[in-house]
Amino acid sequence: MDVLTIGLATFATIGRILALIALSVLSGWGLAYLAVKSRRFENAYVPFVNVLESIPVIAFLPIVLLVFIQGLGGFWGVEVAADFLVFDAVSWNVWIGAYQAFKTVPEHLLEVSRNYGFGVGRTMWKLYIPHSIPRVTSNLFSSFADAFFYITVSEVFTVGVRTYQTFGIGTLIANFVQQSNFIGVYYSLLFIAIGVIIVTALLNILSRRGVAKYGVDTSYEIKRHSPWLGRRFRGLDVFRNRAQYISRYAGRFTHLRHRRGLGENGGTPIRHLIRVAVKSLIFCMGIAVVVYLVYSSLAIAFAVPREQWRSFLASTPYLLYSMGADYVRVIVVTLASLGLAMSLGYLLATHHRASLTLAPIVQAISAFPAPAYFPLIFIATFPIFSSRLPAAYSTEIYVFTLGFLSCFYYVFFDFWIGVQAIPSQFWEVMRNHELSFLTRMRRIILPGTFPYLITGISSTINSAWAGIEIGEYWPNIDGSHSLEVRDGMMKYIGLNMSNGQVGNAAWVSLLFAVVVAIYGIVFTRNLMDLARRKYVVEEGVYAA
């Protein structure tokens, strides 16, 4: 075992993850802008992200095989395929977080930007992006954690009989497990722990600075850079307090407009034409995608024999029952995650010293790849559970644990940042009127963090599926036992995939996608609309 190789592999994996997180942030800003500007795009975008977030990473393997392995081939084909799988793990919650932040920009700030005729770029740079910094930084914890959770299936993956792997700690762990080299696994986990602690400490600094600088009147002091840090964080200096930016820029821009003799509400005909052309192009692209999807779907539907359709329809009631059973599991996992967020998350957000010690622990737990260490938990606990509980109950406990470990941090970190972003005046009112913990939570904290909670709960629900999928059907988890629930949609998919019954798996996946899309519109979008109308905490202080 080469410790240097483990160190380099950890470094490569962390570099890969951070680069892909940066890509997901940039793309998330662009897509969120389109979503808040176009209701049609929003109606497609929100369910789309929800569906993709709900689909576990390994479901993308056929796409990976087709597009990257066969298309690009060689070293780059495998590298880009692994990057795509990591991107799948990190991007969706960053995208939904950016959308949620853009959706809840205070109306009076939007009016200022409209008033001074800001274009798309300026509105993004001066308003939307700064406003989204606290929420995007809060999602970086989850993204980083999620990337590590799936690292053993992202950097090394098997399609058919061939295994593809790229250099990274996920690949090393997978190889060590295959060789039963547990010392190698322990060293790898140690290096991951060191890397996770360093990165999460940096993310912690970033998020606190983000909240202090871009949250509205939060109780956090804006930290000035020390000379040492200043040199390293100079990149952040391109941002300034958005209010200062808008007012300063507004003054300059108004001056320019007057000098050029432009009216207050005017715009050049060329700019208008460009705007119309861009809108038309986006609309045409949307239509083309819809036509292609409808055509592909019909082609597949007609290619399926009639008997197969009968079989699909006959199995549907059982599949819906299995889906219901899985939704119950997801709801239990979500409620447990919410409970942890509202207790420990609140404690960390309101006690700086506690956050310094406990936050890295929570971050480290969330970032550790559970599939890598879960067999060790199973080996340690199975004798206890099997002697005291019926097999079905102990299996459900393991499924719950895996589901919880795969997603609890979404709502936890979102709520944590949401609490930190509550304006200092609100805290003073709570202290001044001696409100109890429960009253604070019910009347102010939960409504005040409502947009954050919607994002966190949405991502928690969507991501719970991945952990549940692993837990519902895990053959030979410790070499002699298997984890298998009695009824569950994810087990059904896993069993049918391993038996080569891809059609059955595809049918239940389609039913699931429909349900998730409806959930995306009913839950995420509508609640986000409600948040926009009523629960923008910043409007409670600014509006004067």
Binding site: F426, L435, I444, P447, G540, A543
Partner: protein, 269 residues
């Protein structure tokens, strides 16, 4: 000595009971030098006290220290002779930035301050409606802050503070975000409102930059200056009410305060 103005030597004569007192108060941010220090002040029953000082001298922090919303680094605060060690609804703060909860109606915003009193729903409702009426918002109980003007929102915040039956009202530039017409109207109302027999208030402390506002409202003015800042003077305003901005004595008082502030210009933080 100008007419209408008395200095600290005259203060407190004839008064038997002070309400709020702080002794040797000082405040410093973490790992930073003192913002202000050696601050000693008292307020008496039915007295409207103002604190003036240049930007950055720590007026807003001082007022939060008095309510223990921000604990002082040094010194003690007493209310009715008892040391204040934690925030209490007996000392209510009205913010400079108008703080109303956007998801609550005007009535719900006001009822928030009554929750800790564990009143019945009807009783809390009645008190909240009474206070809203007192500040001139009857008929707007079910409106959300978003649906109201800046002045009306500040009245909600004032009503919320008054509903808690405080003994001391702390006001941190409460009119600074309002347009001049609304601010003028509210200044006229605030004194009567603060010392209305229907309220429990005994005294009020106002922090302000606006010297005209201070002279119009205050019975006594503390002048804060220096670096670190401290109280450099106390000025008693002896002009009969209602006070006119055009009154030469009024203008004399404003000039006096202006001179006090400009004598020792304080570099802003």
């Amino acid at each position: 000595m100008s007419a209408g103005v008395a200095v600290s030597a005259d203060l407190g004569k004839g008064r038997s009971q002070f309400e709020l007192e702080c002794r040797d108060l000082g405040y410093a941010y973490v790992n930073s030098k003192m913002v202000f220090q050696h601050v000693n002040l008292k307020t008496y029953e039915n007295e409207f006290v103002a604190i003036v000082g240049p930007t950055g001298c720590g007026k807003s922090t001082l007022i939060r220290n008095l309510g223990f919303l921000t604990p002082p680094t040094k010194g003690q605060v007493f209310l009715d002779g008892n040391e204040v060690r934690k925030p209490s609804s007996k000392i209510s703060l009205i913010h400079q930035s108008i703080a109303t909860f956007p998801w609550m109606t005007a009535l719900e915003n006001v009822k928030l301050s009554l929750i800790s009193k564990r009143l019945g729903k009807d009783e809390a409702d009645r008190i909240a409606r009474d206070v809203l009426r007192l500040v001139g918002l009857n008929g707007f109980e079910d409106y959300y802050p978003k649906e109201m003007s800046g002045g009306m929102r500040q009245k909600i915040a004032i009503a919320r503070a008054l509903a808690a039956s405080p003994e001391i009202l702390l006001m941190d530039e409460p009119f600074v975000h309002l347009d001049e017409l609304t601010a003028t109207g509210m200044r006229k109302e605030i004194y009567d409102l603060v010392f209305n027999p229907e309220t429990s208030l005994k005294s009020a402390i106002l922090v302000s930059h606006n010297l005209h506002e201070v002279v119009e409202l205050a019975d006594r003015v503390y002048v804060m200056n220096g670096n670190p800042a401290t109280l450099v003077d106390e000025v008693k305003i002896k002009i009969p009410r209602p006070r006119s901005h055009r009154d030469p004595i009024f203008l004399n008082c404003v000039d006096r305060l202006y001179d006090e502030l400009s004598e020792n210009p304080n570099p802003t933080r």
